[in-house]
């Protein structure tokens, strides 16, 4: 019988990215170009007490150390980042946390492990002054790549109720295996 080592050598599972944003291999990836072909810039979040999210898949069990967001030039109020399963049931959440650090990547420490599968990562914000490193999006492109939205969702609720995507920007955020970005 072949050994475990044999099977490990034969496997072709691509290791999980250290940090998964919507533009990582595990999510939309290069097709983010279809959403908006420009560099992300600092943009206000236009959905007070609302949330936006992206789906991602994991090929292997992965241990994460936090949930991260790329803050823009103005920080304000509270944010909440959460991971949902494919049925939009919340698995982990940061709860409401003060947005901190203009023009920096804020990593909110939260240890959790996810098995292979499909997940959603959601960012909710309690105000429209907060800015994030975001890409401009068109609604149709956002919908075609599975971006999700919920208008009354702060802090991130236990169940996410997906609505038609109407926000014109999409922030940079996601789970990370790192402690600083």
């Amino acid at each position: 019988m072949p050994s475990l080592t044999h099977y490990k050598k034969q496997s072709r599972l691509i290791p999980t990215s250290f940090t998964i944003s919507a533009y990582a291999y595990e999510s939309i990836g290069a097709m983010g170009r279809d959403i908006s072909g420009t560099n992300p810039g600092s943009s206000a979040f236009s959905l007070a007490n609302g949330a936006v999210g992206f789906m991602f898949t994991l090929e292997q069990r992965t241990k994460f150390s936090g949930l991260a967001v790329a803050n823009g030039a103005t920080v304000s109020g509270n944010i909440s980042i959460a991971i949902y399963d494919e049925n939009f049931k919340r698995i982990v959440t940061t709860g409401a946390v003060a947005q901190a650090g203009a023009n920096t990547n804020q990593v909110i420490a939260l240890a959790f492990t996810l098995n292979p599968g499909l997940y959603y990562c959601v960012l909710s914000v309690d105000n429209t002054t907060s800015t994030f490193l975001s890409k401009a999006v068109t609604n149709a492109s956002a919908q075609s790549h599975g971006l999700v939205q919920m208008s009354a969702a702060h802090p991130a609720p236990a169940t996410f109720v997906n609505e038609k995507y109407t926000v014109t920007t999409f922030p940079t955020f996601g789970p990370t295996q790192k402690t600083a970005l």
Binding site: K8, K9, Q10, S11, R12, L13, I14, P15, S17, F18, T19, S21, Y23, A24, Y25, I28, G29, A30, M31, G32, R33, I35, G37, T38, N39, P40, S65, A68, A70, N103, T104, N105, L133, K135, T172, Q177, K178, T179, A180, L181
Partner: protein, 186 residues
């Protein structure tokens, strides 16, 4: 069937590097950029790449720009196991190597690196000349940090143990056209 790794993996690979993020922001993004505009001389750039199966890294390579100057060091680093996911021990490197021919891929033999299982490693590159050019990308410093790219100042030649951090990535342009090869160059 015995799977084999892609013969060459670069920092801008879509599946195995940060190519998805690059393309989503800049399309086909690479151009010849002076070292002075990509962090400056002696500042190393580290990009994580995913090795999907067992294999032996035989060479490192980089894509020279239009102006050749000084020396290059290109290497491969393991990932620290302390939870930081930052680069740690150097697995191999070209050592200080005169930059070769303009606008061509330059290969350097390294001592074989035997990758036993799928894993992530960092590829690193550094030049000791501000006037040298390499093919590079632009996508904004903060966004690059979110894509797990890190930097290290005063890193020529590449150190045996990295001390790279996200904070030490200081430029919006950074080298992306370099990587590893699992077969000898032809």
């Amino acid at each position: 069937m015995r799977y084999r790794p892609e013969p060459m993996i670069s920092g801008k690979s879509i599946r195995l590097g940060i190519g998805g993020a690059l393309i989503s922001s800049q399309g086909i993004p690479t151009t010849s950029v002076a070292v002075s505009s990509a962090g400056g001389a002696n500042r190393a750039t580290f990009i994580p790449i995913k090795i999907p199966c067992a294999g032996v890294i035989k060479q490192v390579w980089w894509r020279n720009g239009a102006t050749i100057a000084g020396n290059i060091d290109c290497g491969v680093y393991d990932v620290l196991t302390d939870g930081s996911k930052l680069p740690g021990a150097r697995l191999g490197s070209s050592g200080s190597t005169p930059q070769g021919t303009a606008n061509e891929i330059q290969y350097a033999d390294i001592t074989d690196i035997n990758i036993k299982f799928p894993k992530t490693v960092y590829v690193a590159i550094v030049s000791n000349s501000n006037t040298a050019t390499l093919f590079s990308s632009f996508m904004g410093t903060q966004y690059a940090k979110f894509m797990d790219i890190v930097g290290q100042a005063s890193a020529f030649p590449l150190p045996s143990t990295a001390a790279a951090t996200a904070a030490a990535l200081t430029s919006s342009s950074f080298f992306t056209d370099f990587g590893v090869s699992f077969r000898p160059a032809v």
